[in-house]
Amino acid sequence: MADNGKKIDIEVLRYRPEQEMEPVLQTYTVPFTDDMSVLQGLQHIKDHLDGSLSFRWSCRMAICGSCGMMLNGIPKLSCKTFLSDYYPGKLHIEPLKHFPIERDLVVDASDFISKLEGIKPYIIPKEPRTLEQGEYLQSPKQLEKYEQFSSCINCLLCYAACPQYGLDQKFTGPGVLALLQRYNADSRDDARSDRMEVVNADDGVWGCTLVGYCSEVCPKQVDPAAAVNKNKVNSTMDYFFRFLFPRGGKS
């Protein structure tokens, strides 16, 4: 890593529950090159400046969803964002908003995990297929109906973006509802009516006011706002026509 002398100030919101009651700010001066990601900046801090700094990361290539954090107030993946984008200004890093801070930049994501489990995030076919029956056949057009929603990497940026989730953690939230739609719209799945209970609840799709910031920040163009609001229509149809279409109709 060539040293051309450029340094950036990174201000991190730190929190160590065993030594402080509230988060505190700590600033590090990090030498960097134009090809360095924010994640690499954090790794430099941990490797050379302050080994106590805690943060999640894994793939370094925007597919594992581990490194989400607030960069100057905007939820981003630190591996996908460059330090040079913030230079010569200061980079202010906070853990993902709307989640409890566990330690430093690590948040407690257990609420998301339990909500995800609650929507049966797997294919439940009408009739289970045996190995002898062979694979499911699906046309490109059938794939197109749900493919964008399958791109979700569970990075939680949409939850950090969503003020309704911030105001009330009971809200199911954009990511989980996008994954719900991923399965409902998959031609191999037949469990739409099973998932309607989550959709129809006050904290299902009805917790959303279409702020739309979730889709803005999604690093994978999942468009969770579309998943949620399309299901407002589904939920409304289910509400008024439930006796005509008892199993929930097509997604």
């Binding site: 105001l167 989550v198 006050d202 407002k232 409304t236 509400y239």
Partner: protein, 117 residues
């Protein structure tokens, strides 16, 4: 079993209202609130005979009902939800009755008057 929300009722009215506001109100506000009062359009546009005749026919009644009632439901829903956004978490039941109640009253008054005209 999670309780089913009744939001679809209010959301449908909100949506219908939003459509009316988007597709009709810009020109309607311009005509009724600016063009006629300021004289850009002839005062005849909103004269008593003309508007009374409009309100006497079916299409006129439906139009007037739509541009009064649906925007009221739209505004009621948005304002009620915005209270929550602003951090006002007390009096939810009171504000819900107030907001939707006003929309309902406005709808009722409009309906009664239009039936009678």
């Amino acid at each position: 079993m999670k309780k089913r929300s009744n939001e679809p009722v209010f959301w449908s009215l909100f949506g219908a209202g939003g459509v009316v506001v988007a597709f009709i109100l810009p020109m309607l506000v311009f005509i009724t609130g600016l063009a006629v009062p300021l004289g850009f359009l002839s005062p005849e546009v909103m004269a008593y005979e003309r508007i009374h005749a409009f309100a006497s026919c079916w299409i006129g009644k439906l139009f007037i009902l739509a541009v009064i009632s649906l925007p009221l439901w739209h505004a009621a829903h948005r304002i009620f939800l915005s209270l929550h956004d602003l951090g006002i978490h007390w009096g939810r039941t009171f504000f819900k009755w107030l907001c939707y109640g006003l929309a309902f009253l406005g709808t009722l008054i409009s309906l009664i008057l239009l039936v009678v005209i």
